[in-house]
Amino acid sequence: MSEQLEKTYLWDPVVRVLHWALVIAFFTAFGLGKFGPDQMTLHFYAGYAVAGIVVLRVLWGIFGFYTARFSNFVKGPGKVIAYARTLPSQTPSRSYGHNPVGALFVVGVLLVLAMQVASGLFADPEDYINVGPLAQYVSSDITRKALSLHEPLSFLLLIMVLGHIGAIFWYKKRKGENLVKPMITGYADLPPGKVPGE
């Protein structure tokens, strides 16, 4: 059986640049937070970068290119379960954009990233040098809550990232699909008729 595939434009430059910028910003912020110097200025900058990326991605998810828009890839439980059933099979997914399960990850990781950014902005470690810029506007109860959330959320994010990378490996090994290349070049090999309106 030879499947007929054609080079299809999948990810626009905004999605791709934001994706790889997030990879860099997240690992920089995580690494500096965990292992970096006690004066955390660079960690703050990496966090602001993450914040900017999340905001832009959400805006692009509303106003952007077809495959970037939430309304085109976020699906209900029925479709999520139906797609999840196909995950173990060797059949390639040949999805045009995020599949319904991947959509859950996209929305989930953006939400947790937003929570992580917020917890950092409001956290006050009471060292008078690494104080979140918004901590001064809220009570110390809130700054402590923010501080206690910031580290656990970083590990949750790390687990999500590892799960994401694990899924990439699964698609490669099990389904023979390279999901990394399209995120770099923008193009994927898909069967004809996948692009709506074409």
């Binding site: 004066q39 470690p125 008078y128 690494n130 501080l147 206690s148 580290e151």
Partner: protein, 152 residues
Amino acid sequence: MKKLLISTVIAATAATGAFAQSPSDTAKARRAFYTLVGYEMASLGAMAQGKMDYDAEAASQSAKDLMTLAGLHTADYYVPGTSNADLPGETRAKPEIWSDMAGVQEKGMAFYEAVVALNEVAGNGLDALRPAVGQLGGTCKACHDDYRAKDF
């Protein structure tokens, strides 16, 4: 003179019985101590970050007060049985303080040295103050990271 503020914490362990204060009193005194440290540090931090105009005299005075505080004999603020496991809601001091006294002492020494360094430069202008405050704040963080719970 140059003895570290917590240098005799281990000795205090033996002297526990000598204190008539309750564990809650100890936790209260400890937090009061750090409230004072924080109070001086807050104005230094604000100056260093440009949120408050630099004032050589005020900076020097705060640095001097920190020196005084760092010179206190604080071992009796660290009586065993006063961690957040013993006194939930009253303190954020983790039991690790008492199980890793050497580590605490090392970080306390870094704090003390940063206070000494700060005192040498606090009156010499904002550019001299900033790195010294950064260094000192870093020693606050280093200890908070390992020995203080994030919340009550």
